[in-house]
């Protein structure tokens, strides 16, 4: 019996589609675990603002993630929870910094100043970072095996279709927002 042409075609098409849509993302990204099960929501419900830990300094530099020292300001001793015990035992007591895997970390040649966006532009943190502050456990960190950068730069969807504004931090996303606001920029505004 001869196979009808569409069937032969489909024999190639279907596995290729499956590989491309299902297997490829798994191959492209590697998942890494965060060092501590940090609970953003608990901190936020405790009345803390994002900037209490992630502040823009007077010199305009964004402090990024808080140092172990600032964590120790509240969590100097063990006892409250398993996570805090781990924090104290592994980082506070030996005086080490927590090796967080930063979802939003940009490539080395990118210069992103928070001050113009947050202080001058009055953008809410969630505008670019999404509802990170509501998370109870840190999202798994996914790293692109080819580029070595966080998956968040591309966004969760492989096609980037229908993504929310805060999903994706590619240069085109920056440019899109800047253009939409009529804000001119030069390469060296955001590259170093």
């Amino acid at each position: 019996m001869k196979l009808p042409a569409p069937v032969s075609f489909a024999v190639g098409l279907v596995p290729a589609l499956a590989a491309g849509w299902l297997l490829f993302p798994r191959l492209l990204y590697r998942t890494e675990a965060q060092p501590l099960a940090f609970n953003h929501k608990a901190h936020a419900e405790g009345g803390m603002a994002c900037t209490d830990c992630h502040a823009v300094a007077e010199n305009g530099r964004f402090a990024g993630l808080p140092s172990t020292e600032s964590c120790a300001g509240c969590h100097a001793e063990k006892g409250e929870s398993k996570t805090i015990n781990a924090l104290v035992a592994s980082y506070v007591e030996p005086g080490r910094e927590v090796p967080w895997l930063v979802h939003a970390r940009q490539p080395d040649n990118v210069y992103f100043p928070h001050a113009p966006h947050v202080t001058t532009g009055k953008l809410a943190c969630t505008r670019c970072h999404g509802p990170e502050g509501e998370s109870t456990t840190p999202r798994a960190y996914q790293v692109n095996r080819l580029s070595g950068y966080s998956r968040d730069l591309w966004g969760p969807s492989m096609t980037r279709a229908g993504r929310k504004e805060w999903q994706g931090m590619k240069m085109s996303d920056c440019i899109h927002c800047h253009r939409a606001g009529g804000r001119e920029s030069a390469c060296l505004d955001c590259h170093k």
Partner: protein, 630 residues
């Protein structure tokens, strides 16, 4: 029923696969990722080691002791800028200082004691270092041909007291190298003061003519860039206020190339040239008569010496046309205040006679107290009851006599040449260096006890001895030394004890001594302001200021009473003989990095940018080769 698979089916399936892949994210996502992948740095990706902060300290690489403003991320300095208004440097920095933070990571850095035996270099532990040193210390003093000598590149520090005590305990010598820059000329002049030795400094801002016999005044001496800056600023002023630099030198050095006038001269005939200028000044009655009458003695004797150096003879000796000699002398007399500086111990040393002639010339021009002000040394700890050896000049180190040589970390090879040191050593001598680098004298040592690298320890830094006013900084450390670094001072102390000798406890009374003097003002770099020292409440407050990078500067010293001798006792015949002698060989023309020769540390590897990637400077290898030839 049998399934027949034809080539057509394969083609179709292949086509389907291609279509499937094309319709999946694979090609497009890969294209994007590959684009990013091609931009991947195969290079270090510098990340801040903490929040940005600025910290102040002083540079210890050369005697200029410039103020440093360090840009630090966390504990890591990533760059320096100069401190405008700083009493020691007033906003200048040289390439060496700008890269001082690299030195702790220099490829020549040593962090463990090393011993050279049988031509082989090996790392040893602390105990072995102590044992080696104590055996050598114990052997000292027994044989007069195998004495102990310690060379201290920065005398007057608290640590210097330890070295002096060690020299006393072993019956050895405490040796101090010559200071860089114009110090020799100033010493020669100071010795002629009848009230005893007088310390003088150089104040370029008070001079209109600077005659330099090879001192690199524009490039490499004193505060970086100071004279160049003063000269350029004076060019915008009326002609009568302009500063001119006249370089008298055998080769067209960098300083000569930058000078307003370059007078090429036969090498070794500087004394004749200086006496020729003196001749014209006296012959034409151009010398500063008031100064001569009030402040000098022995004019007649000197005049009869100078009378022999008519410009025609000077032309014959030095190769400088008589007209140039006359014109220069007239110009100097017409543009007072003027000052004359001799050679530089590090790059172009002059004979004692040439320095003597230059001292006399300065007197004829009335340079002292104006461009050559009196200065006092920074307050030091009093010796008190401690029996401490006094300093032996490096030149006076006897040949073939040293069995144990200790080279402090501050000793620069440019001022203490290894060839000269070798002459002083007896056979089988142990040469101990405290340099943190396996380079320069540290490389020559047979026992290397590496200490903290620059910026890794607090240092007492006095400004250069030819500065118009003395300065002092207790410069705080910016970096932490390696965790297991055995401190060389401790090793020496242990070895001394093991050899059965005793040393006074280490002292750190410099701040107290300074405070007690009540002299001068202190500059706080973070506030950019001066405060009188008398206003500081306590030693702790002073120490805290120093820990923030402060720098003390002395008050101007009052003009002393007394006279300078135009010639010292019995000096005339020697001077005459030297000035009439034959010229010496032409020195090699090198342009080393500024201050490279007076720095105890090797230059940062980054300075290969200047030595290899520009033609401005002689590469170190070539400089070493030609220094060896000379």
């Amino acid at each position: 029923m049998k399934l027949e698979l034809s080539r057509r089916d394969l083609f179709l399936a292949g086509g389907g696969a291609v279509a499937g892949i094309a319709l999946s994210p694979v090609p497009w996502k890969l294209l994007d990722d590959l684009a990013i992948w091609t931009q991947q740095p195969s290079t270090p990706t510098p990340r801040p080691a903490g929040p940005l902060a600025f910290r102040h300290t002083s540079c210890s690489l050369c005697p200029a002791s410039c103020g440093l403003k360090a840009r630090c991320f966390g504990a890591q300095p990533v760059g320096f800028s100069a401190v405008p208004g700083h009493p020691a440097s007033d906003g200048g920095l040289c390439p060496l200082g700008l890269t001082a933070h690299h030195l702790a990571k220099h490829p020549f850095r040593a962090t463990l004691p090393e011993r050279v035996s049988g031509g082989k270099r090996e790392r040893i532990d602390r105990a072995a270092a102590v044992a080696t040193l104590s055996a050598a210390l114990a052997a000292c003093g027994k044989n007069p041909k195998r004495i102990f000598a310690v060379v201290d590149g920065r005398p007057g520090r608290s640590l210097s007291r330890t070295w002096r005590a060690l020299a006393t305990a072993t019956g050895g010598l405490y040796v101090t190298p010559p200071a860089a820059g114009a110090s020799r000329s100033l010493e020669a002049l100071g010795k002629r003061f009848d009230g005893g030795s007088l310390a003088l400094g150089v104040d370029f801002s008070k001079a209109r003519r600077v005659v330099s016999f090879g001192t690199p005044v524009l490039t490499d001496a004193g505060t970086p860039g100071l004279l160049a800056r003063l000269r350029a600023e004076s060019r915008r002023r009326p002609a009568a206020e302009r500063i001119e630099v006249i370089q008298v030198e055998a080769t067209r050095s960098r300083g000569a190339a930058l000078a307003d006038r370059f007078v090429p001269i036969a090498p070794g005939t500087e004394a004749a040239f200086a006496l020729g200028l003196a001749h014209v000044l006296l012959d034409e009655k151009l010398a500063d008569a008031a100064f001569l009458a009030a402040r000098t003695s022995g004019l007649d004797e000197f005049a009869s010496l100078a009378a022999r150096f008519a410009p025609a003879l000077v032309e014959q000796k030095t190769g400088v046309p008589a007209g140039v000699v006359t014109a220069l002398a007239r110009d100097l007399a017409a543009s007072l205040p003027a000052l004359v500086l001799g050679g530089d111990p590090a790059s172009a040393p002059l004979s004692a006679e040439a320095e003597a002639a230059i001292a006399s010339l300065n007197l004829l021009l009335g340079a002292p107290f104006g461009p050559l002000p009196v200065r006092a040394d920074a307050p030091r700890e009093a010796d008190g009851d401690a029996k401490l050896a006094s300093a032996t000049p490096f030149d006076a180190l006897p040949d073939g006599s040293v069995g144990l040589l200790l080279l402090d970390a501050t000793v620069a090879e440019g001022l203490v040449p290894w060839e000269r040191l070798k002459r002083a050593l007896s056979d089988g001598a142990l040469v101990v260096s405290l340099s943190p680098f396996r380079a320069g004298l540290g490389e020559k040592a047979t026992l290397l006890l590496p200490g903290p690298a620059p910026l890794e320890a607090m240092l007492e830094l006095e400004g250069p001895s030819d500065a118009p006013l003395s300065t002092l900084a207790l410069a705080p450390a910016l970096l932490l030394p390696p965790k297991d670094l055995p401190l060389p001072e401790e090793i020496v102390r242990e070895a001394t004890a093991a050899a059965g000798l005793s040393l006074p406890a280490p002292s750190s009374g410099r701040a107290a001594a300074l405070l007690a003097s009540k002299r001068g003002r202190i500059y706080d770099p973070s506030a950019a302001s001066f405060e009188p020292l008398a206003g500081i409440a306590s030693v702790d407050a002073l120490a805290e200021l120093f820990a923030r990078g402060a720098c003390w500067i002395d008050d101007a010293a009052p003009e002393p009473k007394g006279r300078f001798a135009l010639l010292r006792e019995g000096e005339a015949p020697r001077l005459l003989e030297a000035a009439l002698g034959a010229p010496s060989a032409l020195p090699a023309r090198l342009t080393t990095l500024p201050r490279e020769s007076v720095s105890a540390a090797p230059p940062s590897l980054l300075l290969t940018k200047l030595t290899r990637e520009t033609t401005l400077f002689t590469p170190p290898a070539a400089a070493n080769a030609s220094a060896a030839r000379a």
